[in-house]
Amino acid sequence: MRLKIGFICSLMLLSEIVFLPLSTVGAEKATIKMAGSTTVLPVAVRAAEKFMAVHPGINITINPGGSGVGAKSLGNGLVDIGMISRHITDEEIKNFPKIDFNVHVIGRDAVACVISSEIYDAGVKKLSREQIQKIYTGEIDNWKKVGGPDKSIFVIDKEAHRGTRHVFMAYIFGDENARTRGADLISGSNNEEQTKIALSDTAIGMLSHAWINKDVKGVGIEVNGPVIEPSIKNIKNGSYPISRNLSLITDGEPAGFAKEFIQYILSLEGQKIVEASGYVGIK
């Protein structure tokens, strides 16, 4: 069973590693190039498919890579639209003085603290901010200490530029670039992290809540007593503490087809796609 999960997950991973060939070859077509956050990716891909069906003259190519890549690619003029799941950092603004980063929020998402289903089923349903902090610094290294079974904790961290990590660390440590001495493994995209956690039976990690499934469970966050589950309802009412905006970024005001595409995602139909992807719309 576990092997099958692993295999399916890794096939999904393949689609993310390889350049996404959404476009058909055709020189006369106009192209919108996009890159960035793997959290925004599913929304962008689904919206692009629909958009291209309506506008046969347009190609949309979408490259994953993470929020850092999204900001960088836009900064370097490699793409028309960047995808980010965090805010633009001061350093990014400093690195690209000529770029006028224009952020278009398209939805909201929660970053869940996720653990292997084995641990969840064994009783770890909630963690406090301090507990997660100590797990990531290495002070807590056994599930026993947080009410789970006697098993070492396999701590999964993310590449430093990833939006999910910025948001998660900003809440847990109050520093989006926090260092984690307790980390055992660094992962990249949401799919990769999901695969690694699904294949492990003692792991902890961070994921967009849309990636939670039966092998990868999101724990509730204990905030001064009450426990808040990572759910659509709690994102909507604003009670879940680790949430963020999902955004598209452009250099200045978007124009032409890029503008049309962003408008499409912000439309009623586009917002349905956002919600179908497991996020919360902005309207």
Binding site: R2, L3, G6, F7, C9, S10, L11, L13, L14, I17, V18, G65, G66, G68, V69, K72, S73, N76, E91, N95, K151, S152, F154, D157, E159, A160, H161, N177, R179, A183, D184, L185, I186, S187, G188, E192, T195, K196, L199, S200, T202, A203
Partner: protein, 300 residues
């Protein structure tokens, strides 16, 4: 007119492809030196000896250099005995047709892209390693090394087999006629004649192992650290290539982060070039001899 009469398409083609490959290599080399220069200015030799890597603050390449070395070492120590054994069996024991089938399969295997091995690695090998060695997790130097050993096996095997085949048949006949057993013949008459070719095959295998990116990236864990104790290969780490694969797109183009990655690239480039050069200079003349021998045999 003189030049025209000397015009030989084959030679011109060879010369141009030679020139192109030399100049591309040269351009890459110069590019890496130029792009990595600032980091050597900024960090000095600390870039090579430092073990901390935090973009924006400090860049130390040692964990990556260590990881590349360890992973390559594991890959070769597993691949070499297997490759040599199967090369000997294929070349000395099996009949011509079976041999061709095996060679074809090996060359097919050598052509499978790294990402496919990586996916098999992430889904099958990590689980197998985890269960076999009873680890918390299957991502480790060891897993990456095993995966690489599978990847370089066809290269090392086919090249070793070529080297064994290029040993003149007369050596075998002579040793057998003196009353040596089959195994002694292989050991004392065939292997010594092929040892250079095998060494070359291993070096080319090392080159491939060092340069492989994506499959390693998927199973090594990507943590920039030298394990404690340093020989604990069942823990996560980082290689130069996996580091470049993880951070290349994000660091693209500007800043010390980019320069540091270019520096890693330069280290890898120099090492692999050196090894490939040695490998080719060992294999080259020997392969030539093999062809000459075959031609001589045909003439007879």
């Amino acid at each position: 007119m003189w030049a025209l009469s000397r015009w030989r398409p084959g030679r011109a083609f060879f010369a141009s492809s030679f020139f192109i490959s030399i100049s591309v290599t040269g351009i890459i080399f110069i590019f890496l030196i130029m792009e990595s220069f600032p980091i050597f200015q900024h960090e000095g030799l600390g870039f090579l000896s430092g073990s901390e890597w935090y973009p924006g603050e400090v860049y130390g390449a040692l964990p990556m250099i260590y990881g590349t070395g360890v992973v390559t070492f594991i890959a070769v120590s597993f691949a070499l005995p297997l490759a040599l054994g199967s090369a000997i069996i294929t070349s000395e024991v099996l009949s011509g047709r079976v041999r061709l089938v095996i060679k074809m399969m090996m060359e097919l295997l050598a052509g499978i892209p790294g990402v496919v091995y990586g996916l098999l690695g992430i889904s099958l090998l990590t689980t197998a390693v985890k269960n076999t060695f009873n680890l918390i997790d299957g991502n480790s130097f060891f897993t990456a090394g095993i995966l690489l050993s599978i990847m370089i096996l066809p290269t090392v095997m086919t090249l070793s087999e070529d080297a064994l085949r290029s040993v003149p048949k007369e050596y075998r006949d002579q040793a057998l006629a003196l009353g040596l057993k089959r195994s002694e013949t292989i050991l004392y008459a065939v292997l010594p004649g092929a040892i250079k070719g095998i060494a070359g095959a291993v070096l080319l295998g090392i080159g491939r192992a060092m340069g492989e990116t994506i499959s390693v990236m998927l199973v090594i864990g990507s943590l920039d650290r030298i394990p404690r104790p340093f020989y604990n290969i069942f823990t996560t780490g980082q290689t130069i290539t996996s580091k470049l694969g993880r951070e290349g797109a994000e660091a693209l183009g500007v800043g010390y982060h980019w320069n540091a990655l270019a520096g890693l690239g330069l280290i890898l480039f120099l090492t692999v070039m050196g090894i490939t050069f040695i490998g080719n200079s060992i294999v080259g003349p020997l392969a030539g001899r093999g062809i000459n021998n075959k031609m001589k045999q045909k003439k007879r």
